[in-house]
Structures are given as structure tokens and as C-alpha cells.
Point group: D2
Chain length 388, copies 4
């Protein structure tokens, strides 16, 4: 029997993994901590990129898998998936008996982790609270904050908001975001591409010459507007087609409406044979960031454009409302879901490439270690009260 | 096809019903609203008092029943019950297609209602947010606030807290608590007991002479300390035994640990044959309040002692931490879980009977109508953002 | 209030719909019956062909939808999907209060329908019991028989087997299989193709000239050998590629392992650009049978090859064990999962086209009406006992 | 890594434990087997006697607990409990990776075990198939048979029926019933009562003098007639009251309707203060059998009266249909649910006490060892086909 704190981290989607990876490494190496990594939701599913494979090839041991994704391509299935995930998580926590559970950010199923831990009286640490975005993520994130006992936030802004929501000052720590740690590693390295993206990750569509300029697109459906998902992706596709620069397009994750997005993409691929886009399903976070670091501009509505790209100094065209409210640096311009506007702003941003300074808004690249240190030394309690 | 707003209210436990009953009546009668009443959780189960029967005998139609209580007498079963409840609620909301869902207060399963509504893009109204208590209820209540789109709070204090948590001012209304509406009806009536409690509700234990002074006890197990539930109930039992005044004891609800409490009570009943306690499982809210209004003092950890009894001017001995943080009036004194202290404070409070003034802290008795009016006219949206 | 029997039929997959469609029509028209159609499982999901859309365009009203498919691409998810389906079905049956529930054939999730009905004391009718196949279907089918109160079987052979399993003679009726009803309609009509398959159903791959000879392939993964799914589909693909006749390939359904099959097909499509195969996801049963009736030969492991094609006189190459044990007529030859053998047998069978007689083994084309009539007049009970 | 077969046995209720206990012991001791004991359903719940405690005090290690009981006191909750149990079992089997799963007899939730194992391609052994009873157990038992790969039956009659249902002869073994093993141990021992039942198990009601004659009653609600449960228990109570011999009454298990039964018993206890009945919730199988062996007669509808009492030679009055169809010896007479008839037959049977011969109908007392031996040496496969 060891006296190490048993830390159970739950990863439920590909993007969440990038947001926690360096923390997982630091927890695993920490002399006072023992890591139990639970992988669930879309992170286990092939057509959402099977993050579990990436996680294992990164050397992590997966302690438990929680298959909880209820199919339905509609909003009801998000609710049901969350219900099923609570059941799965409560079983896993019963078996693992963790001293701390860590829930990451604001995807809908993260509330399942939070509820299972809180109702079982297990201290809950929440990573990346206190940010502002809108859409369902907004509700999920702040609900996680109100359930959590420890808050590991990315920025000073976030810290102030969490405290203003009524959390004890002593329970909130600014660690930066672990995704910036990966960005730091990537930006420290030689600028040459030291791997073969097409050989490793395949993808479908146009060939890409990585010695030439390229764009990156990541565009997720917005769940509260999911019927418009197809229209929205088509506007972006049209802008990219018109700009006629080679483009790496990353497949959206498993929210309701992803099928509207998928259909728009499939239809585009059948209609336009000579476009310069290559579609990818998944990539290891480091490889993705290496490619991102060299991109002319990132287009879409991913938070990567706002967070990692602030640190990396990569220009971004942020489309629509998905990131509304999120603290942002000078690398970002905003566009509506309109092909012409997107097209014009991409041209503007390409001109910024190489001219932007590093912005430490979301961390200095040591978040993983800070998170592990806080989890190791914080005095946990599951009792709390609004501070006002 | 009607243009009325379809309002789906979910009641999951006996005490929640008292907290919403007059709002249900006002919604049902409102010309612009249509009521869909969902009953679930312990409110359907015989051994927790089957609130569903009371609800129907009050003249309400139950639109759907959600059996979601997973047995287990432990904390895991609270989590699983919540997971199952999300699945049940999402099915029901899919069938009912409500324009608004109403979730009541802060029991653990109310988060299931909130999550199902929010993930299905249905506007969510939360009744009785912004209060402060501690224990798991505290986390649940504020998480409900962060998920809800409309806040119907009981007091000015609560309004300020909800706004401080980052909710838009325009989404928060002070309505008072519907439980006070019932208290107003009761206190307006003749002081004579116009029904036969023993004939109507049975109960087991000592005979009660309602023309003589009596106490009321309501003591719930505290989920984060559930192993102590038996000890806690035994301290109260001992104090009541010693005070030797006839007592009406109301059975606790379905939280984990209720079996510790139950065992303490059963053991007491077998050990002491000549005690003056009668145990009840359930009573209609009006009948309960009528009896409460005439009680010398209420003992235990129920919020009724703090809320309704403020309005009624009934003295209360509040035991332990369950109501810690809750705004309270002059009718309340606090005790530890210690038989002697409870005993002494009961004596003090009995002397206060008849001398306390009405306190409108939790409402003026018109909350139900106000809630219905707000739900009828509020412009709902499911998009929101932290205000800071 | 009507005195009609309320008949709840549950359809959980595309192939099940063809097996029950004419019975649904006859139940709907029957003066003594009222139809409640429940659609669940993969029948609701786009990537499995969304049978629900076909059902509605055929004029049926779907009374309830049960989203129960748990993703996982493994055997555990079949079990979990069944567990979730029981919960969904029990809710639906509670709301619908049917007098009879009808479960169709032998897919894994049909046991969910059977268990929910039986445990709720609702008489259960099972369609297509008494057949012999192997694989998990075999266990599911006979378990359905042992739970069901009424047996509507396709053939005299099946009747004997159901009775030998201990069911009362009076509870077993030979109705034939409703899929043969559709085959009869199709074979009665003019041999000209009166619709445009490519315009209606799209599909991807080679163009098809329907005035020229063509093959049909339907090959499902076998769940108890699911790791071999990719190998098996590749052998068939190779045989089809070699025979070099235009081919309509129908996508497999949602069993575990379908991703092995899918991968084999995708890989083939990327490797061979000039093949003559067109891949379809779905087709209305009538359109499918019209095309099937004109095919040179059907290849794969679908029961259609053995059942409908017996009636239609279409030659079939049945591959592997999936249909082992099933009663078959002269139109069928068997092959291992070996490209060469499949190739040779396809050549043999093409020569049989037009020379086979109609075989009434699975019915005379009036099964739907017979099923409705039996359900309308049978005296149901939920009590039964083994007859020996 | 061991080469022992990993045998996962699932116990879901108090009575099932008695039916498998000696097999558990033999599996645990067998050099080629490794036991994984899963306890679920009502076996974990206090108010159904918490068999888990008994199991642990017997020295077994519980490998996993599956909380799956959904409250509801109605038939829907039986279905939902089974759905939830499938989910729980599939998780457990995924973690345990058993080589064989063992499901016991015919309670409704045993189908959850069978389905989870079969769908996950794990060989399934079924204990006590081939018997005939009626009610929902009948359907469950034979469905288990049709899903199972190995059949360990209690009698030659049962073996013939299982084979006649289409199972391979080589997959059916007559082992006798493990409950008879316990009966053998008890009947071999000294006739003196070597423990204090009241001290160990408490119970409520009349005092019992174990040196004087006494009756035993076990009466379960019948799920398909559950509204009559209260009437039925009242008839038996009236007969027992009239016969005026001291009686040990064992509380029913967790089927729907148990509350009708419970209410009848509670009402009786309040009405009649001087009855000679003592009510027990639970007892270890050995202690129960020791007491049973000395009883004048057993009354009710438990299978113990037919099985164990055949071996022990204890007279039995079997009431109602619950055991209809079950092979029985000379110790049993049948009664309707009618107080007078029950009363008269109890008198008849008391006169038989001490005059009945041992009947080996359900085994010779070595079933546990035989079951372990078969599981250790049988060549398992998950493929099977009807034999005709």
C-alpha cells in the first residue's frame, strides 16, 4: 500500500487530450501521485479519431475505458450519453477509489465526471474553468466550477472570474493551459518538419507539399444551431476553395450536428475534384502543433486558434460565435459564416504570418508540472460554500 | 394547436412538491401556460411517502412518471440514479417538447432535469437558486444556476448572489418561495384542527392528543457524513425522549444514509416502549403546515424550520450543519448533534412559542402566482454568457 | 375508447423492416387492430441507412423512437445497447399500454423487446422463430421463442421445431414470411425497371447500366468471428473484381465488426479505381427486390439469398457459416470465404439464371395478412409451461 | 499468469446463493479453476436480507458488486433492473475476462447475466435448467437454456427436457442441485440445534421455543398476479393464526409485488398482538436448513419445500401456482390460496413428520463438486445449433 495520492483523470475526447497531456506526464512522474487514466466517450471511437490509440502510443496506460456514446445524431443523444457516462464513471470510481478526480474543460460529457465524483464524495479538480465562450460549453464549464473543489485555471482573467463566482481564493490556482506546454516544446524545436504527415496519418483528398505555404481548418458544429451546421461548413469550404492555397482540414468531433458538417464536406468532395484540401481525422498533438506552427493561418472555430496560436504567433480567422467571449490576443480576427468575409480575412491574416509576438495569455508552457504540483499539495475537502 | 407555453415541471421528492405546489396551481390556471407535470425519483416510491399519490389527490394530472431510483444505500447509487434520471428525462422531454422546463431547488437528482433540458436546447427555469447551505446540495444548487436560463429566487439575498455568480440581471426574479404561499393559507385559517391526522395518515407509535402541546421533528441524513447518520438520529431521539412531550416525527427522504437513520429509529422503537413519539411517513403539505403552525417547536435539520417557520413564527431548534449558511430569521437557534444541547434548546424555544413576529424573508405568500407570471412573459433564450 | 387490440411492433434494423412490412400494412388496415410502430436501434441512424425515413415514406406513422445504440465497435457495445434498449422499451410500453408486442426474428436487440414485454406481463408475439442458422442469432432466436406467447413462423419446418422446443401447438401458426409477400408483388409486375436506382439512392462507385447483367452482394460481418470480418469481405471483393461483371454492393448493418468490413471496402475502393462495383447504403424493400429479381446472382451471406430468392428463383452463392442450418431450396450453392471458390461458383450460378422454379418454402406471399389475422383472433395469455 | 480457467459466477439474490454455494466452494478449491464471484441485484440490499454479508462471512471474496436494482414496486422496474444489470455485467465481464460465466436458475435478472456473456462471446454455463414451474420464471429459465453453452441440471427429468429443447447431449450434465448438498450436510449432523437463531438473526414477533414443534412459512409474491399478493399472503396468515402452532416466517424476496405482501404482513402484525409468528429477513443457508430439517411442516410457495425437503423428508404444503409443473416427491401436498384448505392440509402434513423417506429426485448431495469438475473439463464453444 502506497501513500501516494491516487489521481483519476478522465479524458473523453480528442481535443481534451491535448489540453491535459503534459499534466498527465507530470502526474505520472510525480513522486507523491499515482495516475489512473480513464478514457471514454468519443475518445474511444474510430470515426472520431480514436484518441485512445494516440494516448497509448504516447506511453500512457489506460486504466479503464468507458463506452458511453449513445448514437442518435441529435441533441437527445448528448443527454443520454451523459447519463450513461455517469453510470460508467461511478462504477469506475468505485473500483479505483481515487483520492482526486480531474475533469477537463467544458465538453458536455465532462459534467458526467464531475457529478459522479461529487456525489461519491471524491474531491474534484477542474482544469480550465473561468473562461467565457457561449454555447452549451459555457453552461457546462461554469457548472463544473460550481461542483469542483479545486480550480486549475489557465489565466489570471479566469482566476478572477472563478473567485467572483463564489469560489474560495485558496481553491483557485493559475497554472496556464497544458496545451501551451506542447506549443512551447514545438516552438523550441527546429523549424524543419521531422516527420511525414501523409505517411503517418493518411487522410484523403489533395496531396500536400509541406515546403509550400498551407492553411489549416478546424470547424466544429455548434450544438445550439446544429441544423445550420451544413450551411456553415459550406461557407468555409467555399472560401477555402476560392483562396486556392493548399489546406489541411481536420475532421470535427462528436457533437450533435457533426453529420450536417460531414455531409457538407462529403458533398464538396464529390462536387469539386481539383480542390487543394486534404482531410485528416486525427493527429498526435505534437505533430498537429508542429504543422500548425508552420501554417500561414488557421481558419474555423477551434479554440486552438485562440489559445495555442496566441503563444505560437500563428494568425487566425475565427468564424462565428463558438469562441465568443474567450479572451484573445492580437493573432485573431473574427468573421461571420460568410464565404466572402472569410476569404478576405484569410488574405489579411496570411500577411501577418511571421510578424506576431508570443503572447503568454494562456500560459508560459509549464502548466502540466504546476497542475501536478498543486494536486499533490492542495488540502482537499468536499465541503464548500459560496463565499458571499 | 395552442399558442400556450408548454411548461414541464419535474418533481422528484416529497419536500420538493411543497416547494412548488402553488406555482403548479398558478401555471395550470394561467391563460398563457400549459402544465406538464413529471414525477420521478423517490416521489414515486411507497417507502419514501409516495408524493405522487398526494399530488394526484390534490387534483393534478401527472403527465409522465420517471422511475429512476437505483437502490444501493450508498453514494454510488446517488450518482447512478442521476445518470438514469437523465436518460428518463431526455425521453420525456422528447415526447413532451416543452417550451420551458422547471427544476426545483437543490436535491441531487435536480441536476438530471437541468442537464437533460440544457443539452436538448430547452430553456430551463430554476426555482430557489442563490441560497447557501453546504453539503452536496450547495454544489447542486449553484450548478443548477449555472445551467439555468431563468432564475426564480426566494429572497433579495438570493437575487444578489445569483447575479454575483455571473447571471444577467434580467434573468433573475424575486418571487418568494411557494412553500410560504402554503404557510400563508394555513396561517390565515381558523386555528382549530379541521382534520384527523391519525385517521388520515396513520403513522406508528404513541397516540397523539392534538389539543395538547406537541413537538415536530424532521431530521434528514447528511450525505457527506452518512456513516454518522445513525449516531445523529440517536442524539435527537434521546433529547426528545428526555423532554417527554408528545412528538410527531416525520420520516427522512431517500438520500444515501437514510438506512442509518432508519435503523436508529427502529432500534429506538424496540428499546423504548413508552415513548411519546408517533412516526409519520408523509402528509399533504397543507395538513403538515397546519400541524406545524400549532407546534410548540420544530426540531431537526429541515429547511422548513427556517423558511416556513420564519413566516409562521414557529420556534425552531436547528441541529447540525445541514442548514449552515442559509439565511434565517429570529425563530431559529442552532444545536450540535448532542442530546443535552438539543434538550436544553428545545426548552428555550418552547418558551418563545406565540411571541415571534412574522418574517417575510422567504416571501409574502404570493410566490406561485409570480412564478407563473414570469414564466409566461419572460423572453427565453438558451444562449448565455458570464456577465464578467 | 376503442376495443381494438393495440399491437406494438418494434423494428430495430433495416433488414427487420423488410421482414415485417406487409404485416404492418395488414395490421394497420385490420378492423380489430390498432398499430403502434416503434423504431429503434440502427434503424434510426444515418450511417446504417436510416430505415426510419423509408418507413415514413412508405406511409407509416412512427409512434415512438428508441435511441439505444451504444457506440463501441466491439462486443461489449452489443450487450450495452441491449441493456439500454430494455430501458427504452419498458418506458415506451408503459406509455403505449399495448395488448400485444411483436418482436421480429433474431437480431441481438430483439431480446430487449422480448424481455421488456414479458417482464411487464404483455403478451409477446414472435415472428420467424423455429429457424436454424448458427452464430449469436441462433441463441437470440430460440430465446425469443422461449419468452414469446405466440409464434408466427415462416415454414412447416419451423413450426415443428418450435413445438419440439416445448411450445403449445395452439400457439404456433405457419404464416410464411412477410418478406415473401414483397417478393410476390415484385415478381407479379412487369419485368421493366420502373424507377431510377441511381437517382433515388445515389450510392458511390461505378456507374451501373441496368439493361445489362449485374450481380448483387450483401455480406454482413459475423459477430462471433468479428476480427476476421475484414479478411472475409476482401475475399468476396477479390472474387467480384475478377468476375468483372457490374455489381451492386449493399452496405452491412450495425453489428460489432462492421468496421472491419467497412475498412476492407474503403481500402478496396482506394486501391482499385476501375472496378465495376457501386456501393449502396439503403433501398426500399420493393426497389431492392425489383432489382434483386433481375440480378444474375446474389452473392454474400444475407438470408435474402435463401428466402426471397427461393421464391423469386434467383441463383445465390452463399458464403461462409452465417446461414448454416437455414432451410434452403435449389437456388443456393455454398462457398467458403475464398476468392477462387466464390469466383467459380458465381460463374456456375449465372448459368442457372432463368432456369429455377418458384419454391414456396418460406411462404406463398400472403404472410402479412395471415399474421394480422392471427394477432386479431388468438386468445393470448402470458402464462405458459413447457409441454413435456 | 495462470492456466486456470477463470470462472465468473453471478449471484443476484438470497435464494440463488443457497442454490450455488457448494459449487462456489468446489470451484474455489479446484486446482484447475479460479473463482470470480459477482454479487448483484437484491443480494446487495439490506431490506432483502443483504446476501452479500452472508457470502462474505462464509469466507468468499466478492470480486465485484453490481448495483442494478431500479426501485419502482411495479413490473416496469423488473425490466429496467434487467437492462441496467446487462450494462453492469458487461462492464464487469470486460474487466474480469472470464473463460466461463455461470448463471443460476431462473430469476428475472439471470437473463442479464446470460445476455451479457453470450453477446461478449464468453461461454455460458447455466445451472438448474430443464425444470418446469410456470410464471415468468418459466420463460426466463428456458431462455437461459437457449442462450447457454453448458447445462448443469439437477435431475434426469431436467436433462431429458433440455435435450428435447434442442441442446446437444454432450452439453448437458446431471449434477444434482447444490442446495441438496447443504441439505445432506445438515441431515448428517446431530439433530440438536447447535446455534441460537434468535440471537443470531433477531427477527420480530413472537418468541420461539425451538424444543417445541414449529412450522416454517416462505411465501413469495407471484409476479404475474402481483395485485393479488396481499390477498394471498393474508389467506396464509389466517391459516397460520388458526393452527396456533409457533411459526417462523421468512420475508419474501425482491420481486414486484413484494410490497403487497409486506403490507399484508405489517397489517397482520398490527391487528393481532398475540399470534405465535416470528418474522425473519435472512439466515445462512445451513442454519435455515438445520431449522427446516426439524420443522413439522413447511408452508408457502418456495421451491425449498419441493427440493430440499424431498431429500430431508420434511412435509410441505405448497400453496398456489408458483411451483406448478415442478417435479415433486411424496412430501408435498398442494393447496389453493384459501385459509381453510391451507389450515386442513397443514394438519394432515404435520402427521407425516418423521414418516417420509429420503428422495434423491434433486440430487445425492454432491452437486457442487460435480459442477466444478464439469466446468473444469468441458470443452467450451460459443457456437451451437438446434439439434433438429
Amino acid at each position: 500500500m502506497t501513500n501516494k495520492r491516487r489521481v483519476c483523470v478522465v479524458v473523453t475526447a480528442r481535443p481534451s487530450y491535448a489540453r491535459i497531456k503534459t499534466a498527465l506526464q507530470a502526474i505520472e512522474k510525480h513522486p507523491d501521485l499515482e495516475l489512473f487514466l480513464v478514457v471514454g466517450g468519443s475518445a474511444l471511437i474510430e470515426r472520431y479519431g480514436n484518441a485512445a490509440d494516440v494516448i497509448q502510443s504516447d506511453g500512457f496506460t489506460i486504466s479503464a475505458r468507458a463506452y458511453s456514446l449513445v448514437e442518435g445524431e441529435n441533441l437527445t443523444s448528448m443527454a443520454k450519453t451523459t447519463g450513461l457516462a455517469i453510470m460508467e464513471m461511478s462504477n469506475i470510481f468505485l473500483n479505483v477509489s481515487p483520492d482526486v478526480v480531474v475533469t477537463v474543460a467544458d465538453r458536455y460529457e465532462t459534467l458526467a465526471t464531475s457529478i459522479a465524483a461529487a456525489y461519491m464524495n471524491i474531491p474534484l479538480a477542474h482544469v480550465q474553468g473561468g473562461e467565457v465562450t457561449g454555447s452549451i460549453d459555457e453552461k457546462v464549464r461554469h457548472a463544473n466550477t460550481k461542483i469542483a473543489d479545486l480550480h486549475l485555471v489557465a489565466s489570471e482573467y479566469a482566476r478572477k472570474r472563478v473567485i467572483q463566482m463564489g469560489e474560495r481564493e485558496g481553491s483557485v490556482y493559475v497554472t496556464g493551459c497544458p496545451s501551451i506546454d506542447l506549443a512551447r516544446l514545438v516552438s523550441d524545436r527546429t523549424p524543419n518538419l521531422d516527420f511525414d504527415p501523409l505517411g503517418l496519418y493518411g487522410g484523403v483528398g489533395a496531396d500536400i507539399d509541406f515546403t509550400e505555404p498551407y492553411l489549416i481548418v478546424m470547424q466544429h458544429p455548434i450544438t445550439t444551431q446544429y441544423e445550420q451546421a451544413r450551411f456553415q461548413v459550406e461557407e468555409t469550404l467555399e472560401a477555402i476553395r476560392k483562396i486556392d492555397i493548399q489546406t489541411l482540414w481536420f475532421w470535427p468531433n462528436s457533437d450533435a450536428g457533426s453529420d450536417g458538417t460531414s455531409k457538407g464536406i462529403r458533398s464538396f468532395r464529390e462536387q469539386y475534384k481539383n480542390h487543394k484540401i486534404r482531410f485528416f481525422k486525427n493527429m498526435s498533438p505534437e505533430h498537429f502543433l508542429t504543422i500548425l506552427n508552420r501554417a500561414e493561418t488557421i481558419v474555423g472555430n477551434s479554440s486552438v486558434a485562440i489559445r495555442e496560436c496566441a503563444y505560437l504567433g500563428v494568425p487566425a480567422v475565427n468564424i462565428g460565435d463558438r469562441q465568443a467571449g474567450r479572451d484573445r490576443g492580437k493573432n485573431v480576427v473574427n468573421s461571420d459564416h460568410a464565404a466572402d468575409e472569410i476569404y478576405e480575412l484569410i488574405k489579411v491574416q496570411i500577411a501577418q504570418k511571421g510578424k506576431l509576438e508570443q503572447d503568454l495569455l494562456y500560459g508560459d508552457g509549464t502548466a502540466g508540472q504546476k497542475i501536478a504540483d498543486v494536486i499533490a499539495m492542495h488540502e482537499f475537502t468536499t465541503e464548500k460554500m459560496l463565499t458571499y
